[in-house]
Amino acid sequence: MSAQIPGSRSGAASSSKPLLELRGVTAAYGGIQVLHGVDLEVPEGAVLALLGPNGAGKTTTISVACGLMEPTAGKVYMAGADVTGVGAEELARRGVVTVPEGKGIFPNLTVKENLLMATYAGVDMDHVEAVAYEQFPRLGERRTQVAGTLSGGEQQMLAMARGLAVNPAVLLLDELSMGLAPLVVEELYGIVARIARTGTSILVVEQFARTVLGVADLAAVMVNGRVRAVGRPSEIENELSAAYFGV
């Protein structure tokens, strides 16, 4: 029976120590409990895809991990240190970069001003600009344009540029593909793979599994506020279809 218990060390990459770890996390919006004891580990340097249907608690898991939401119970560890209850801004300064669902930019600031906000994490502006414009030349052309007037793909690139430039320890990505064309999504996941190669641990939340599973080392399936299974992408396919189709 205990084999089915989520989070019990069954993963493949469990040889390296986890960089981000959630232990028995519960969280609630008002009186409505959303997470019922989530256990999740992102091993150092690995990409973990968190998959699951609507309302499973994926975004809430990210909110807890990035410090925007305080869990009602349970612990969050970063590189072995207990960071439960540490604010989002503090985590960001310690090298956690979060790209939230569909709105990773400040729409009324220019592209350049948006990039300036990344410097709170301790990198200098010249470096941020150099990396961003090299990676996404289109952003370079539009550095004085107001970010709200960029196309959806360009906005997501701008959000991702921050992840690239800061060289974070942990990158949390929420629904990167939302509302974007498949080609753009491919391109963005190419970037994710490249960031992963630099040794950054990545937790990526997706509803549509196919693209992200090509990039991920590990995948976790989440249903009704619990992690139902963790494993290599090939291992969890059954769980995944069960989660989506309710089989």
Binding site: M1, S2, I5, P6, G7, S8, R23, G24, T26, A27, A28, Y29, G30, G31, Q33, G37, D39, C66, G67, L68, E70, T72, A73, G74, G87, A88, E89, A92, R93, V97, T98, P100, K103, G104, I105, F106, P107, N108, L109, E113, L116, M117, A118, T119, Y120, A121, G122, R162, R226
Partner: protein, 710 residues
Amino acid sequence: MRGIEGAQEVVKIVVTVSLMVALIFVALWIWPEDQAHPLGNLVSTGELKVAGVTLTGQRLLTIGTAIVVAIVLRFILRGTRLGIAMRAVVDDRSLLKLNGGRPDRTSMLSWALGASLAAVSGVLLASEQAPSVIPLTLLVVNAYAAAVVGRLRSIPGAFAGSIVLGLAISYVGAYTPADAAWGPIALDNLQRAVPAIMLFLVILAQPQVRLRAHSLQRARRPMPVPNQRLAAIGGLVLVATVVGIGSLMSGPDQNTLLKGFGFAIATLSLVPLTGYSGQISLAQLTFTGIGAVVMASWGASGDVFWVFVAVAVCSAVGALVALPALRLSGIYLALATAAFAIFCYWMVFQQQDVMPGSTASVPYLKIGPLEVGSDFGQLVVLAVAFAVIANVLVALRRSAWGRRLTAMRDSPVACATLGLNLMSTKVGVFALSAAIAGAGGALAGRTFVVDDFGLDQSLPITMLAVVGGIGSVGGALLGGLLLGVAPIATTALAANAIGVFRVLQRLGHPGDLGHAGLHGDRPRAHPRRCRSRHRGRLPGLLPLREAIAAAIVAAAALWLAARTELIANWGLFAAVVVLAFAVLPVLPAILPPPGENRRGRVGPTAVWLVVLLAVTALIPWENAIGSTGFRLIAILGWTVLGALTTLGILGLDPTGRLNVSGASPDHIGLDSSLGDAEAMVAAAEVGVDEELLSVPTPVALEVLRGGGDR
């Protein structure tokens, strides 16, 4: 301002406005209005002649400061990380956090920057304009008129706007002599109305706000749909109470209550407008004024026909104001209505033809042969009118149109895509709201002066409507009455109105802080504490015949005691407050509905309640405390104390949770607040031991369910 982050726009605006009102009161307290505070020039020497115009040193200083401030501000906001972060906070607060910025500190700095700039302007203005609290505060209209030119974003725009405004004020002043008139309309106050006119025109010239599909706030607490039966009973109780209390009151007190009810109806007019449909208006008393003026000048006989005329006129004016306001929302709408209020104050109510001698005397009501002859009679009329309008509003909220209003508040985009005509809905609700406010004026039965209809009078109406719980008819009554009684209540109470209301709300709804008022419609408390809302809540009063009968008996006994002068009027008032907020909420526990058990220690509580009421009624409040304001505060404090003691005796804690002694495992996490020791005992009973506590919760649960091994 952190607490209101993420709240509805209306709530944000109102909280800011109430801060302003409170500061006005504080300022008046420190610097009484009847004393002059003359100030000299900062720079008394030096003059410059430019093209025949003499510039004093003071004015040169002002102009120089303005230019320097504008340049520095632009540099801060565009060129520094701090300034850009200030703009980023406006866009997305939590994203700034995710970037590592500190939004709380950043917004604090931008408030501080704004406030210090305002202070600089105050220092510079001091010699030009006699420093007096309310005119200086209302300079905010001039400031907005200028800033809106730059769409509240651009500094050069604001600069240009202020130059145009300043020139306009000077030219109008120079070219309209004291007795200037346009036909029958006197123009002598035109100069003072210029900022409002400019503000209104500039706002109208703004491009239409694009309907934006913003994501819904998920955690928003739905506003409960009111219960018609409850509203009907509430109306009856209200009228009965007013008859009961009013008959005991002296003439001046009746007059005060009359005033309070006038305000209560004006506040009620915001229930459909702001509460149901999410629009905002800062000009409700202007409509009240129009209603009063129509009644005073045409319907001097008091015939009920003219009340309907007044209501019709107000509703037409309301619709007219709404037409341009249709394209606006949020702060622009608030500003446009504020401009309308100021315009009407200077250009309409100040006309001698409109309010002769600057007063409007609204007659008592006359319906056919029935004629109201006293303040008391008119008071009953107002109470009936309030009850009727409130019930109509509740019925409206429950109708298809009411649902449409709420839908418009929740998502204008969704409504538009569903083919709902936003325009007619908005015009309709503005007209309705103006009509109700106008009815409050036409039925006021007292004499108004011009100053009753100023913007500074309307602001508290909007404020108290929200504080009392916008969207709820009872909140409007409470808010309006408090405002009407404010002259008695003195400054302290008015400044502390928010605090008082929160106390009242807590007492009125033990264990339920979910009132849609200043709580900002979002769960702010720690989620674990929110959960307690669902526990141990007492049932509503309505199905409890015995409890209601007991309340009526108590009220009748108090009334008789006051009528026979056994107790003083203030004793009666205090006892009624205690009855409403400390006794009624716990009655359901003592006299439960059929089929439910009594909860807590019933016998001692019942005795205590009777003693509490008697003691409250017999305390010589009037002799003990000289100032009316402090007396009210003392009564409220006494009520809180009484309520807490009652709950203590009953065995309920103030949040409405039942204290369970002798822990039963059935109660864990359900209906009880257990101490640590009790929890351990209970845990041991179900087989939780030290070892089990050390493993992750899911594993432990699995073990407890009898499945897994350790």
